[in-house]
């Protein structure tokens, strides 16, 4: 029986799990396929529903992990093979210095999610017009202070790739409503002259503080919320024409916009099915890792000894990912000690 735990993915869920295991005397190997820790969280500027400094928060957590001697961090590392069973897994890690074999007692999968590239949404001119961006690109623009200045109109489009059987996924990505509100607030803060319009179908703001957060966007930052899915974005004389229906009034409307932000869906991480095949665990129809029982065993994969954490199981906000990281850590400890 091995005392070590392998954590795949160095996002917020993986980092939390590593910390909790280390705090309780366990040993951890934390692998990350990219060069730095932090995952999708590190790409944000602000957190929500409380506008916190995302970069500071995540770097604080990353530093804690880096300072812990019982956590071995392997960046640029992928899992190549995995054999064995609960308490005794043999994994092959392909690092930048060649492959190495490790014997671990438990594995936590925390590979996170991927923002869908809305290339299929040709009606939104994505990829054709530089002023149509995804929310991830908007975060980057905000971080680099490249948000449009002056008297501009910005349109936020919900459900791009979510709740769409034809071109995307049937499920709801859960957090787009909240982060679009956050983006609208960021826009207003960066440029007080700007006007923001959010096109939504249903506002899904569940949890403490979320409803208040979205109401604050409407009330304090005067963001206009229009119910209706955007039908198309046309280019006209340097502007973007956004056509949609105001479905509460039942009338088609057109917004002349300078920037269109598409809230693209959260999809399963790239290569999740291959990863699942290597580990011998199940995925659902969308490629997210499947839990055995979603209510009381949300972090148990279909194979004993392999646990799941964070948004590789379903679209999820940061707080839930942290909670799930902690839960999977205690499950892993139960196996390895």
């Amino acid at each position: 029986m091995s005392k070590k735990t392998l954590i795949i993915g160095g996002g917020i869920a993986g980092i939390t799990a590593a910390q909790k295991i280390a705090q309780n005397g366990g040993e951890v190997i934390l692998t990350e396929k990219e060069g730095t820790l932090g995952g999708n969280f590190a790409k944000l500027t602000y957190t929500f529903p409380v506008l916190g400094d995302a970069k500071a928060l995540v770097s604080q957590e990353v530093q804690k992990v880096q300072a812990t001697p019982s956590i071995e961090i392997l960046t640029n590392t992928a899992v190549a093979a995995c054999q064995g069973e609960i308490g005794d897994f043999t994994v092959e890690l392909s690092t930048s210095n060649g492959t190495r074999k490790e014997n671990v007692g438990a594995i936590i999968v925390a590979t996170g999610f991927h923002y869908m590239e809305p290339t299929a949404y040709t009606e939104y001119s994505y990829g054709r017009n530089p002023n149509v961006v995804t929310s991830l690109e908007f975060e980057k623009m905000a971080a680099e202070n490249r948000l449009p200045q002056g008297d501009v109109r910005v349109v936020f489009v919900h459900c791009v790739g979510s709740r769409d059987k034809a071109k995307g996924y049937v499920y709801c990505s859960k957090i787009c409503c909240s982060y679009s509100a956050k983006h609208a607030i960021m826009m207003k803060k960066a440029n007080a002259q700007s006007k923001s319009y959010v096109f939504y179908i249903d506002i899904r703001a569940l949890g403490k503080g979320y409803e208040e957060f979205i109401r604050s966007a409407m009330e304090e930052y005067s963001v206009r919320y229009i119910r209706g899915r955007v039908a198309k974005v046309l280019e006209s004389e340097g502007k973007l024409l956004v056509r949609a229906e105001d479905s509460l009034m039942g009338n088609p409307v057109e917004v002349e916009a300078d920037l269109v932000v598409l809230a693209s869906a959260m999809e399963a991480p790239i290569g999740s099915r291959e990863m699942a095949a290597i580990l011998g665990i199940a995925t659902d129809e969308y490629g997210f890792f499947q839990d055995v029982e979603s209510n009381v065993r949300p972090c148990h994969s279909s194979k004993p000894g392999i646990f799941l954490a964070g948004s590789c199981t379903q679209p999820m906000e940061i707080a839930s990912a942290v909670a799930m990281g902690g839960l999977s850590a205690s499950e892993a400890l139960a196996v390895t000690r």
Binding site: A120, T122, E123, R128, K167, K232, L234, E235, S236
Partner: protein
């Protein structure tokens, strides 16, 4: 989704059944003449039949006929091509959707097919569902290399805008060769023919015919056509290329009506893609049937002067 690679699956037959369109035959004969001639030059022998009637789409969507009445009419027309063992090539978006959609429907519904076949058997015909229906623009795109080799009269310096029409891309969401919202195959054919593509805002807007709306709700129809024409006028192309004779008729004739009512001055010649390809391939000017065009005749002459007659 960009899926122009799908086009590689279209076979290149020795000959094809050319399905004649009502509007093309009776209003714009150039389309009919050019489609046959260009296909012949591209190495596909056009086969025609006098027995072929209208696809029946108009009477069906005008609600004069129930689907039960139009299904046998579609099957009858398709069986004419099947008898000869050929695939069907149509020049009209409406014909394409109607034949394709109802054809598929019968192929997937044995009960309907047998009841339709009972009616066809009475006149010594049978619908098997073995042939496919292709739009002529699809075939051009499939044969684009052959078109490139055959360009005799390149459309040098001619500004061309495109109008795809609704029923090919919209109705054939999953069966058309290109994405419904941002298609690009006509642009490619135009560039191969030597023309210069001009974009405009209302490219994917409907021409305004609205199937029967041009007869029943003329106000609505005209209002929408005006939106379209205004956007075209802004881009000011020498030619607006369509791939549907019905759009052709609407956009061509309504321009004149607006001009007549002093409701704007529209002078954009409309050409069907078959005429444009024929023009590029150096077909005789008479074959293009440009005399049947109502609007922008002076401009068409000017285009011909520039590229050589």
């Amino acid at each position: 989704m960009p899926r122009l690679d799908k086009v590689a699956q279209i076979p290149i037959p020795k000959s094809m059944f050319m399905f004649k369109s009502c509007v093309a035959s009776n209003k714009y004969p150039g389309i009919e003449a050019c489609s046959s001639d260009t296909m012949r030059i591209l190495g596909i022998e056009p086969v025609e039949s006098d027995e072929q009637t209208c696809c029946g789409g108009f009477v069906t969507f005008a609600n004069v006929a129930a689907p039960t009445a139009s299904m046998p009419a579609v099957a009858r027309n398709l069986s004419l091509a099947e008898e000869k063992g050929l695939d069907t090539c149509v020049v009209c978006n409406g014909c394409w959707t109607f034949l394709n959609e109802f054809g598929h429907f019968m192929n997937h519904n044995e009960e309907v097919k047998s009841s339709v076949n009972m009616m066809l058997n009475m006149m010594g015909k049978e619908y098997k569902g073995s042939g496919s229906v292709y739009h002529i623009a699809e075939m051009y795109y499939r044969l684009k290399e052959e078109i490139r080799e055959n360009v005799k009269r390149p459309l040098k310096g001619i500004k061309v805008a495109t109008h795809y029409g609704c029923h090919y891309l919209g109705g054939g969401k999953y069966t058309a060769i290109d994405d419904a919202q941002m298609p690009s195959y006509l642009e490619e054919i135009i560039e191969i023919s030597g023309g210069e593509v001009v974009p405009y805002t209302a490219n994917r807007e409907c021409c305004g015919t609205g199937f029967t709306q041009v007869i029943n709700g003329k106000d609505l129809s005209l209002e929408h056509t005006k939106v379209k024409l205004d956007s075209v006028k802004e881009a000011d192309p020498d030619i607006l290329v369509v791939q549907c004779p019905y759009c052709h008729s609407q956009l061509d004739r309504i321009q004149q009506q607006f001009n007549f009512r002093n409701d704007g001055d529209y002078q954009t010649p409309i050409l069907h893609i078959a005429q444009l390809v024929g023009m590029g391939m150096g077909l005789d000017v008479g074959k293009l049937g440009l005399a049947a065009h109502v609007s922008g005749r002076a401009r068409l002459e000017n285009v011909l002067d520039r590229i050589g007659r």
